[in-house]
């Protein structure tokens, strides 16, 4: 689980996010925001948090969370090779490749 960097709510109640909180959340999602968009998004996010705050009023004690409709369980398949080598087709759509590798800026100095 990730840490948003924002202060945890005192009693589970939603806190109002400020521009620094939004900066921390955006960093977790690897989205860059200038000061102006941070302020705008803080306002937007607070409106959404006010909307979803009503969930607090619902008594959910003892209610099992429902992650999935119809309680679907994942199937197991036979342990056989099903994929062919499609390296060329899959790399043809990549921004930058060389010699079968995806190229990115240097990571190790």
């Amino acid at each position: 689980m990730l840490d948003s960097g924002a202060d945890p709510p005192p009693d589970g109640a939603p806190v109002a996010l400020d521009s620094d909180d939004v900066k921390a959340i955006a960093h977790l999602a690897r989205i860059g925001l200038d000061e102006d968009s941070r302020r705008r998004l803080a306002a937007d996010l607070n409106t959404v948090l006010e909307l979803v705050a009503e969930l607090e009023s619902v008594d959910t004690s003892g209610v099992e969370p429902m992650a999935h409709p119809l309680e679907a369980t994942l199937r197991l398949r036979d342990d056989i090779v099903t994929e062919r080598d499609r390296c060329v087709a899959l790399q043809a759509i990549a921004p930058e490749v060389e010699g079968g590798y995806f190229l990115v800026p240097r990571v190790i100095e």
Binding site: M1, L2, D3, S4, A6, P8, P9, G12, P14, L17, V22, I25, A26, L28, A29, R30, I31, G32, L33, L41, D44, L45, T47, V48, L51, V52, A53, E54, L55, E56, V58, T60, V63, E64, P65, M66, A67, H68, P69, L70, A72, L74, R75, R77, R86, A89, L90, A92, I93, A94, P95, E96, F102, V104, P105, R106, V107
Partner: protein
């Protein structure tokens, strides 16, 4: 043939093809000419593959003439796919700059099945970016106009699909529905659209938004057309881990459902505050028509329905923030220019590639899943999801289907919903069935001024046949689904000459 080709429903076109009254090439040419003439006004289609379509139409004609593979019920009918479905011949953008120019190395199962059923793919339909939106105003490729009133939105996120069918550019289109994205545009554009039970239609090759909610389904003019399309689209797919192994019924055989003895639940929560009175009146009139046909209306209660929006706007963004982390500028999709380092590559590719609503939802989801907030938001939302689902299960012990409005209002003007919450409230009646994985459809049931109104039907899991049956009964005794937006009704002189040439 008395009717112009585009005036025929998908089922009528299929019968005309089977009977030799027209050819697949004529149908493709006719509809491509309409696309050429009318798509500029609508912006409903993002890509058109005329050459591929004509080649597919020639194959279909050969099949219909007894050469090669035996024809299927959809052989030769033109369709378009929402641009969320991966196609190998045409680009797949998902309405995003992130995937501008992306051509998928594989084909979605829905696309493959409909191709094998003989449909002729004309193009790809515009949509809200990554299916996030209720107005189609969030597309990187521009908004779509509603054919009933071009100053209004067609709904979303399958807005391009709905506008294309309503303007008779094609008789049918595919869509996807995560919180209402098939049903709401169907309601706004006067169409019949079906979101199947979760797991009924394969999600393979359908770009993921919220994986526990996403379902593909048809948008067409009638329940009969949806029955034929769903039959072709549905079925087990080993490439989708949550695909159902249940057999796919012959939905067309369910259309002649007797209404006598049918119990229709009318949840009082669907008619509470927030519902436009004209919409409410049209829905009540349709329910009255079903009652006259022999059905019994039963007052039911879904007490947790009102928390649907709140639960949905936690669950869907949470899943989206996870799903959309795959767009990192490395393996496919948009990459920023001259990245300084790895961090810069990720961050700027995502910042420049995603639009504002997508960013907003990624941030909501990231926050809801972050340490210290997970229990307060995500876990809580999943518990409320269970309570909403229990309400439906209880109601379905008393009734066979549940009916109410699809949307609180008819289509609104472009730019009218300027804050995110107002936009989210459009999904008031549609998110509950999505959260619970239930099949649900919208069909036209009247007008509010010049704009269509949709009736929503919600069923028990895998009971699509019954929903289609109820819709078909209503369409047999009403003509709302036959109305055509005036500006898009007529064939142009060129189209008419083309048809005359084709017939002579």
């Amino acid at each position: 043939m008395s009717a112009a080709l585009h005036e025929m429903t998908l089922a009528m076109q299929a019968r005309a093809l089977a009977g030799g009254a027209c050819s697949a090439v004529e149908l493709a040419e006719h509809h491509l000419a309409r696309v050429e003439r009318l798509n500029g006004t609508l912006n409903a289609l993002l890509a058109v593959g005329a050459d591929e379509a004509l080649a597919a139409a020639r194959d279909a004609d050969a099949r219909l003439a007894g050469k090669g593979e035996a024809p299927g019920p959809l052989t030769g009918v033109p369709i378009v796919h929402k641009d969320i479905f991966c196609t190998s011949a045409l680009p797949t953008t998902c309405g995003s700059r992130m995937l501008d120019g992306y051509v998928s190395p594989f084909e979605a199962t829905v696309v493959k099945r409909l191709r094998e059923a003989g449909t002729v793919l004309l193009g790809k339909a515009n949509m809200d970016e990554f299916a996030m939106g209720s107005s189609n105003e969030n597309s990187f490729f521009g908004p779509v106009a509603n054919p009933w009133d071009t100053s209004c939105v067609p709904g979303g996120s399958s807005g391009g699909s709905a506008a294309a069918v309503a303007a008779r550019l094609v008789p049918a289109a595919t869509g996807t529905d995560t919180g209402g994205s098939i049903r709401q545009p169907a309601a706004f554009c006067g169409l019949t659209g079906l979101k199947p039970t979760y797991g009924r239609v394969s999600r393979h090759g359908m770009i993921a938004f919220a994986s526990s909610l996403d379902q593909g389904g048809p948008l067409a003019r009638t329940a009969e057309d949806c029955a034929h399309l769903l039959r072709a689209m549905a079925g087990f797919d080993p490439h989708d881990a949550t695909s159902s192994t249940r057999e796919v019924p012959d939905y067309a055989a369910h259309l002649e459902l007797p209404l006598a003895g049918l119990r229709i639940g009318v949840p009082r929560e669907f008619f509470a505050e927030g519902l436009d009175t004209t919409v409410g009146d049209a829905v009540h009139a349709a329910l009255g028509e079903l009652e006259r046909g022999g059905a019994t209306l039963v007052d039911v209660s879904l007490p947790h329905q009102r928390h649907g929006i709140a639960a949905y706007y936690i669950v869907a963004p949470a899943e989206a923030s996870s799903n959309l982390s795959r767009f990192d500028g490395v393996r496919f999709g948009y990459r920023c220019d001259d990245p300084a380092d790895m961090e810069d590559l990720y961050e700027r590719s995502r910042t420049e590639g995603f639009g504002p609503e997508v960013k907003r939802r990624i941030l909501i989801g990231t926050y809801a899943l972050s340490a210290g907030y997970y229990d307060a938001y995500y876990r809580k939302a999943m518990q409320v999801r269970r309570l909403i689902s229990d309400d439906f299960a209880r109601a379905f012990t008393e009734v066979d289907v549940i009916a109410g409005p699809t949307t609180p209002t008819p289509a609104f003007a472009h730019g009218a919903m300027d804050d995110p919450i107002a936009m989210y409230l459009n999904d008031l009646y549609t998110v509950s069935a999505s959260l619970c994985g239930l099949p649900a459809m919208s069909l036209p049931c009247g007008f509010a001024g010049a704009l269509p109104v949709g009736l929503q039907l919600i069923g028990q899991p895998f009971d699509e046949g019954r929903l289609l049956g109820v819709a078909h009964r209503l369409q047999a005794s009403s003509d709302w689904h036959e109305r055509v937006p005036e500006a898009f009704e007529r064939a142009s002189d060129t189209e008419r000459q083309g048809e005359e040439r084709a017939r002579s």
